[in-house]
Symmetry: C2
Subunit: 441 residues, 2 copies
């Protein structure tokens, strides 16, 4: 067989099946995985235009960031150590109101994509304004993006009301749905920002088109208590609206009782866990160990860089694996392999792409991440899954391919001038900071 | 003034006072800090043999790892996803029983020091067998080490009984106490492994010599419940023995009621928080926000690499800052600057070195860490303290000095052949794994 690219690695982690393949190779042609086989066989059977030898490396699916607001990278570190509502109402929303334009989204999402690619993330599920701009940037950078057709009851620079949000989102999807790197989710922001009528329309559209629904749900105790006082817990309301089904990607879910966990399992929805954002905003803990035990599909997201403060899926995956044990009061909760699955195939499943990415299977897109373990911090290697989950850092990502195209080579981002990105980010910081200083004065 | 070394940085974080000095410089002579001043003044007033320009960097004190078992790096990832007692009794102790020799400690501590230096840690507080070997390695690598004079009731390869542990420890200290890079702590392992009689002797010796006492205390609920059932909570027993005083560095402290927090403040002891180890072993959460609010000195430690699984103080410091908020259910708990102080001056204080390291003050040792923030993951920079605490990765450490000597230069460890370290670590892994496979068969 001839292939465009052949990559030999010390350890290949296909994710499904959940095993470690030693001295294996992955062959790529036409942007897709065409073989996963022992290196000795590959050397006999496959010729390739490009051959990569990665003798101390793990080769695995690219990480899938199942929840982020990419453009918020421009507000990274702008306001820390504050609870969610203060942070949103007094810091994030006022700055967004002033600055969240198409240009802001272009520069912020580009910075975010550079960071994510460098850290081994090949696909992100975005929720923000101007998804058309994010789509352009993702195509320009060659990164896979799942674009949120955001919906809110109130006006922003992107749309005036729920109807306009929905029609702009659907229009964008109709225009771009045939692009290989792009996919779409309905993205009603949260139960407390979207009323029943648009949620019913979204449910009907999602059912009709089989498009996932991406939504913040049960992020904080405050949200749940307020809703309960007004009539019902948000999850119960969403169930009444028919939204709890396999198309739902429910993000955060820090407040779940036993019955709600059973309900999630029964309805087949996915839960995206954002451990660092939940910790930083003191939002509460997602019961990932119990959800996993109940058979609920788990995904992992970084949330936006303004509440994290990075988009580092390797770090996030580690935080998820560590935090699960404390939350469950059980050191066996969410073992390393389960956390790694959540950060790859679990994320793909949550955004409706499990058939095309998230594991190393013939016929899937060649979205790959290669991690060099030959560093003191990841030596020795008893178990490469443990090394990736509990010790490897984003800087150890040596190579990244998206749809077979090499986006990171020997730790360097390809085709993007990083210094220019940083200058642009700093110019936004200067403008925002000047505005904040003025507002304070 | 003439100095050996002059380092200009975009941001200098002296830690004390807790402020950000923009465009400042640090001058070093005779291994010590001789000036911290604006770069414009430094360029006029100071000539130096070596001048470093770090235009996108933070320059701050080297990180102080206030609790580790450095040689355990050779067991990194050997056994994960297990509770503390299973992990210790069925995995760690049997392997230590078989392998924990002087050679094991030499190779393991060397690997650990390489990892720590590369990550910006300039000083570590160790608790393990063969502290004499760790002392040799620290001097060979030029890293600052606080050596634990370990004490247990039961025999190991290092000593047969409490008397021998104490006399070997004290003898080692008498021999090495005048070396600039070395300091010592009494290191009774834990309340459940050391009986009253040796603890009384240690208290008397510590009082006499003003040497800190380094001990695991209230690590798990199980430990505290068992001790309470047998008569008293460990902290109460240690108080009766006179050990709760400013010389005590109490590590973990995941089980503390309000009265115990008040007692810690009253007695002036230090608490070393090991967030990732506590999470991974589901040991419980240290109430760092409450301890900080009560005025208790906080330090941060990685614990050993077998329960973490890295010795990354930047990562640990982030985990501490994030976890504090969830533990306190308060997003304002342990703000970034407080976490950074804990990882530097707080650690120095806990190990009795607050007068000589931990902040950038004239007369202190020039133990410095420089972090390059010009990367997508740490851009833009609204606040360099936030960037260091919530976003920077260990790979962004560009330069490290210990006592004025450059140990990491442009991200590369100086004077140590890393590939040989990794080969040695892998050889230990192969031996240990063969032994484990045999034991299983």
């Amino acid at each position: 067989m001839h292939a465009q690219t052949l990559i030999h690695a010390r350890w290949v982690l296909p994710i499904e099946p959940a095993q470690v393949l030693e001295h294996h190779a992955v062959a790529i042609d036409g942007g897709k995985i065409v073989a996963v086989l022992p290196s000795t066989d590959a050397r006999e059977q496959i010729t390739a235009d490009s051959v990569f030898e990665r003798p101390n490396h793990v080769l695995m699916p690219g990480l899938v960031n199942a929840h982020t607001h990419s453009a918020m990278s421009l507000m990274r570190g702008m306001a820390d150590d504050l609870p969610l509502m203060t942070w949103l109402e007094q810091h994030i929303w006022p700055v967004e109101g002033q600055f969240a334009s198409a240009e802001f989204v272009r520069d912020g999402s580009r910075l975010a994509m550079a960071e994510m690619l460098l850290g081994g993330t090949t696909c992100f599920n975005d929720m923000y304004f101007f998804p058309d701009v994010v789509a352009d940037e993702a195509q320009a950078l060659g990164m896979r993006a799942s674009l949120g057709m955001i919906v809110l009851d109130f006006p922003t620079a992107w749309a005036a009301n729920a109807d306009e949000y929905i029609s702009k989102g659907v229009g964008l999807r109709d225009e771009l749905k045939h692009h290989d790197l792009l996919s779409f989710c309905f993205a009603p922001h949260a139960p407390y920002t979207v009323s029943d009528e648009p949620l019913e329309r979204i449910r009907a559209l999602a059912d009709e088109t089989d498009i996932p629904v991406h939504m913040h749900v049960h992020e904080t105790a405050f949200e749940v208590e307020q809703a309960a006082a007004a009539g019902s817990r948000p999850l119960a309301r969403l169930d009444k609206l028919g939204l709890l089904n396999p198309n739902l990607n429910a993000v955060h879910m820090t407040q779940l009782d036993d019955d709600e966990i059973a309900l999630c399992a029964e309805r087949g929805l996915s839960v995206t866990h954002c451990p660092e954002s939940n910790l930083k905003l003191a939002s509460g803990q997602c019961r990932t160990g119990d959800l996993h035990a109940a058979g609920v599909n788990l995904a992992i997201g970084t949330d936006g860089a303004a509440s994290n403060n990075d988009l580092d899926m390797l770090g996030e995956l580690r935080s998820a694996a560590l935090l699960a044990k404390a939350t469950a009061n059980d050191a066996t909760a969410l073992p390393a392999a389960a956390a790694l699955r959540a950060a790859t195939l679990g994320g793909a499943h949550a955004i409706g792409l499990a058939d095309s990415i998230g594991s190393l299977a013939t016929g899937k897109w060649a979205d790959l991440c290669c991690i060099d373990l030959a560093q003191p911090a990841t030596s020795p290697v008893y178990d490469p899954i443990s090394a990736v989950v509990y010790a490897a850092a984003r800087s150890q990502v040596s190579d990244v391919w998206v749809a077979g195209r090499r986006k990171v080579a020997d730790g360097e981002l390809q085709g993007v001038a990083v210094p220019a990105l940083l200058e642009t980010a700093d110019a936004w910081r200067a403008r925002i900071q000047a505005h904040l200083n003025e507002a304070q004065a």
